[in-house]
Amino acid sequence: MSVLLRASGLCQRYTTGKKLFGKPSTVTAVDGIDLEIHAGEIVGVVGESGSGKSTLARMLLGIETPAAGEVEWQGGPMPNPATPEWRALRRDMQLIFQDPLAALDRRMTVANQIAEPLEIHKMLPRDQISGRVAELMEKVGLRPDQADRYPLELSGGQRQRVVIARALAMSPKFLVCDEPVSALDVSIQAQVVNLLYDLQQEEDLTMVFISHDLKVVRNLCDRVVVMYLGRIVEEGPADEIFAKPLHPYTQALVSSVPQAGTGMKGRIVLQGEPPNPAARPSGCAFHPRCRFADAACKSQVPPLMRDNGRLAACLKLRTLPFQDEKQLTHA
């Protein structure tokens, strides 16, 4: 498969609390990420708040310019924001967020919302737009009679369908979904996830799916990236990474998913607070919460190590439980 998007050494810093005198303090949201996204795959990004997953997504889309590193789109460099090339690229890349109501204009009907990007980019002659809108609505499972409804008259799941239809209007190549189903009820979540999967297949989309819900990610995505404090701590095929997590953080994350009927027994409950990018621990950022951390973890930043097509960043990888000890080589 060809590489659609390649990120190398991506970093992003934000300045907070500008002072009149003295240095402004910076927060590193993303700290050196290398990632390849192949055409036609679904890559899941998981991690807790503060892990930098949304920042990474915005840099992949070219909406944010990285502080360091670069993003290549189809082999060429990402154009600078607001240039004509960048604007042309917007059609190929679409973003779907968690809150559909915030993404929609409350005073516009469903049909007009979906037609808007077609009109702005002059993709179609005027007389063909309504046909295309009807086609898109059918594709995302909206009834024709809902065309004249307003967002507030729809349920959460239906609103997210409108957002998806609008994103598809431009026939994009690359779709980033940032927590697209987190605000929806379980039964509706499954409807929207299935819709995204079917569309990905039919439209030959490449997709980045950001979510804190490991169960959804595992069943939808081909490959999964686990982030902690702006770094990738583990990466691998979806069914392997959750069946046999390598990194202690991934292990805790998998273990924290409440499994029906199992109670609290045998679960790894991580101590300490969720990661705070403003106070990054030395060495391995995860060491204050890690069961296996020792002195070395406090001082050395672990590199991503390759193991049988899997990547993990942990100094203790060789000595951890459920771990194949062969085939550990530097990535």
């Binding site: 409807q191 009927g261 101590q271």
Partner: protein, 333 residues
Amino acid sequence: MSLVSIRDLKVSFDGVQVLHGIDFDVGKGEAVGLVGESGCGKSVTWLAALGLLPLKATVSGSVKFAGKELVNAPRTTLENVRGGRIAMIFQDPSSSLNPVQRVGKQLIESIRLHRGLNGAEARAEAVRLLDLVGIPSASTRIDLYPHEFSGGQCQRIMIAMALAGEPDLLIADEPTTALDATIQAQILDLLARIRAETGMAMVFISHDLGAVSAVCERAAVMYAGRVVEQNGIQGLFKNPRHPYTVGLFQAIPQLDGPRQRLQPIHGTVPDPRHPPAGCAFSPRCARASDFCTSVQPGLVRQDDGCDLACFNPSAHAIPAAYGSSAMISEYAR
């Protein structure tokens, strides 16, 4: 005898009925889950029981706590029960604490109210409670404001505040929904531990079946303002009977086994202003018959001890979602 017994509890907002006669009991020291999707009335049930709904809500039926009627009871009766006998914690911990008051002051307020402690004694008790719920260096951080704590820590403080009154029952209304995965696990762990130490009863309201099964002994599933199924955790999870419960289980993606296409429940929750005739779930139910769309099923005790409101329940069998995946089509790839 049960600690709380709810009978035929009905609630409507501006004439729109959202709760259609709930019967529910909580025994002494018992942990019961209340499961359902947003708008099913699981939170409204307990807000109504404690008189915490806005004035535009009309409440009827009966909620008896230790023999005392709480529905439409005088303000003083409710104030005596709230906090001291029945405590409640909420979904969004950060905004559930008063932002302009130090957490210690808010905690001491509860201690003073329910335990009659004052001054240094009350403060010492507040520090002890913060310590108990796992706030590090409690004796200094007691003087901080809520915004100086993370969401998980705010929920711990809420739990400490709930414990201040040494309640008989804790209502935990989606206490982990707003928190990150690893912090969710911490809070569930804390709730389970505290319940083991104090022996208080707990009602755990959640849309997350996994979380419910982690901390509860029994659970009730609600749909559109009614309890549709109620059983022990083992029975409910091994053998769900109501098609909605089955659907809920199937909709949860699995973390093990082969990767699967998710199994949604088709359609959407009915609009409470225009409820369907008969069983509220019938428009979404594959097993619905003509009878289901015209007659409302009541909650009936079954032979195996399960309470069920369904004319065509799933057969006694381990459902597809739990254990076997043969019935579920895999992603074709």
